[in-house]
């Protein structure tokens, strides 16, 4: 699997990625010829106005959506040749998602939400609960483990979501506006938590944001404008 396509540099590498949608009979190009390479352990901000295609880029990076053309390698896997089951397994084992609207399952307790990714790896219930509890302790929410998401504050919900993203020890965390629904103080806490993970555990961090203050704290800033990607090397 490692050698069936030309080797592309980096842990995550995209070459000539394009994506377009058919909307109301109109052909809408969202991404054009995106070339991007991200190394293991980097932290990147993806910036852009709404409608620029940054969410589509994140979906493609997170294997939730498939590009129309180009080449994409993720941790040595050729995404174009992977079956849906393989994509699911890569998502499960390599990627942790953090969403703007938290996306916790309302029917499950915080603990069960965090334990959920492990269930799709064949981990037994008992072990996955133990690991989830440990992860909730790390984000400082052990005493809220049995609360439903509805009983938690926004900041607490996002911590639960981060614990869920981390429980499977992923290589990459993809965060889509992780602080978008939080007040500035809580947003600061959440960013500190994400950056600490990046620094201390070497987790690759990719954050979609429109907030330049957040982007400043990351290694790289990638600008998406009208479906084209520019590298902004500042700081």
């Amino acid at each position: 699997m490692m050698t069936d396509t030309p080797t592309l540099p980096g842990f995550i590498s995209l070459q000539g990625i394009g994506k377009s949608y058919q909307l109301a009979g109109q052909h809408l190009a969202i991404l054009n010829d995106v070339n991007l390479s991200i190394a293991r352990g980097e932290s990147c901000g993806i910036l852009g106005a709404s409608g620029s295609g940054k969410s589509t880029l994140l979906n493609i990076l997170g294997l939730l959506d498939l590009p129309d053309c180009g080449a994409y390698r993720f941790a040595g896997h050729d995404i174009f040749n992977a079956t849906p089951d393989q994509l699911a397994a890569i998502r499960n084992q390599q990627i942790g998602f953090v969403f703007q609207s938290f996306n916790l399952l309302p029917r499950l307790s915080a603990l069960d939400n965090v334990a959920l990714p492990l269930s799709y790896r064949g981990v037994s219930r008992q072990e996955s609960v133990a690991r989830a509890l440990h992860m909730l302790e790390q984000v400082g929410l052990a005493e809220r483990a049995h609360h439903r998401p509805a009983d938690l504050s926004g900041g607490q919900r996002q911590r639960v979501a981060i614990a869920r993203a981390l429980v499977g020890a992923p290589a990459v965390i993809l965060a889509d506006e992780p602080t978008g629904n939080l007040d500035s103080h809580t947003a600061q806490d959440i960013m500190d938590l994400l950056l600490a993970l990046n620094h201390e555990q070497g987790v690759t961090l990719i954050i979609v944001t429109h907030d330049p203050h957040i982007a400043e704290r990351l290694n790289r800033q990638i600008l998406v404008r009208n479906g084209v990607v520019h590298e902004a090397q500042c700081v």
Binding site: G62, L64, D65, A88, Q93, L105, R107, L116, Y120, R125
Partner: protein, 399 residues
């Protein structure tokens, strides 16, 4: 990195438990349909089983070696039946008859110490005791030598009806029928009801056939009860006896029903009935299944976002399919269990109201619960597969 892993059983059980805990009102309504369907299947199978068992019981007591001959008139003839038949001649003409007895019956009041009850008055020949398998609690049955006497043998119910605490009906007492006093020489044991014999033994007073004229001006032979010796071909005995008795009768035909034929007829009838009931249960189950499918489809469309999240967390298509299939089956399993309990209750109630003995049909529970689960599986598959076909990005986008 292994790419093929299955969810462990403990995780699946947990998912099923969560889906049960969060059952909505709509699920409960769908459950109702399943409960009705499953309980009717269980109840109907069991009721059919108990009915068949009850019918079998009657014949077990009666035995299949008994034949009853009846004498419908030929054409429009109004000539009454003779007062007696030459049973000895029949017995000689037909080998294999162990016992033979004639019955001429009508009913009237029986009075004892001022207490009156209505009884079947059965003019009997001595062979009737063994032909009908009558068992005596006290005394003896009518014999050859009693034909001129005013003797009577009383059935269990009549004996009880004529008794009072401190003044029971005993051997040697005399009961009055019309203007004659009959001496009680025997009291019968309680006899099971018989399908075959046209006499309610427990509500009857047996008196000698020859003396019937004392209380009724024109007694007629109503039927003849025959019992074969063991191991006889009942059809041959029936046809031989028909011939022998027809020879003595001018204006009446002889009709003999063979118990085995009646049993076969009843089994056939109860089987048809059971199939009908089963079809009814199946239809209500399908109705319940449609309800489950409806709930599951709503469930899938309401939880698109959840499906997207689960896919983002690494659920494969088959995990999503299993999730919703499991929920459908859990839902129907609850319905099946409630239905099994209710169905058994209904069958018990029905047996109790019909005066049957309740016994559990072996096939009722597995068949009822199993068919319900199959219905859940069948109607759960389509919603589950449609859920699993969602694309993660589309499912996540859905608000």
């Amino acid at each position: 990195m292994s790419l093929r892993v299955e969810q462990s059983l403990s995780q699946l059980l947990h998912e099923a438990f969560v889906s049960l805990r969060t059952l909505g009102k709509r699920s409960i309504l769908a459950l109702l349909g399943i409960v009705i369907g499953s309980s009717s299947v269980v109840a109907l199978i069991n009721i059919g089983h108990n009915a068949a068992e009850d019918a079998a019981m009657i014949f077990k007591d009666m035995g299949t070696d008994t034949l009853v001959a009846q004498f419908p008139p030929k054409g429009n003839s109004t000539v009454p039946m003779p007062t007696s038949l030459d049973l000895q001649a029949v017995r000689q003409a037909v080998p294999g008859i162990a016992h033979i007895g004639a019955i001429s019956s009508f009913s009237g009041p029986v009075v004892f110490h001022g207490r009156t009850t209505n009884a079947g008055l059965i003019g009997s020949t001595p062979g009737l005791k063994d032909a009908m398998r009558l068992a005596l609690r006290e005394g003896r049955f009518l014999s050859e030598f009693d034909s001129g006497e005013t003797y009577a043998v009383v059935g269990d119910q009549i004996a009880q009806a004529l008794s009072m605490p401190g003044d029971p009906l005993r051997l040697g007492d005399r009961v009055r029928v019309n203007d004659y006093l009959f001496l009680i020489i025997g009291i019968l044991q309680n006899q099971p009801r018989s399908m075959l014999i046209p006499v309610q033994t427990n509500e009857s007073l047996f008196i000698p056939a020859a003396g019937m004229r004392r209380i009724y001006s024109s007694p007629q032979v109503g039927s003849v009860v025959l019992r074969a010796t063991p191991g006889q071909d009942m059809e041959r005995i029936a046809s031989d006896a028909t011939k022998a008795m027809s020879a003595q009768l001018m204006d009446h035909t002889v009709e003999i029903q063979i118990p085995q034929q009646m049993i076969d007829g009843m089994t056939r009838q109860s089987r048809t009935f059971a199939y009908l009931l089963l079809a009814l249960g199946a239809i209500s189950l399908v109705g319940g299944g449609v309800g489950v499918m409806n709930v599951m489809l709503m469930n899938v469309s309401e939880r698109r976002r959840e499906i997207g999240i689960r896919m983002a967390l690494g659920a494969r298509q088959r995990d999503i399919r299993n999730l919703f299939l499991l929920e459908a089956v859990t839902l129907t399993a609850v319905g099946a269990l409630c239905g099994a309990v209710m169905g058994m209750g209904a069958a018990y109630l029905y047996a109790w109201l019909s005066g049957w003995q309740f016994s559990l049909a072996v096939s009722a529970l597995p068949l009822g619960v199993g068919s319900t689960l199959l219905v859940g599986l069948f109607f759960g598959i389509y919603p589950a597969i449609s859920a699993s076909r969602l694309q993660p990005v589309e499912a996540l986008r859905d608000e």
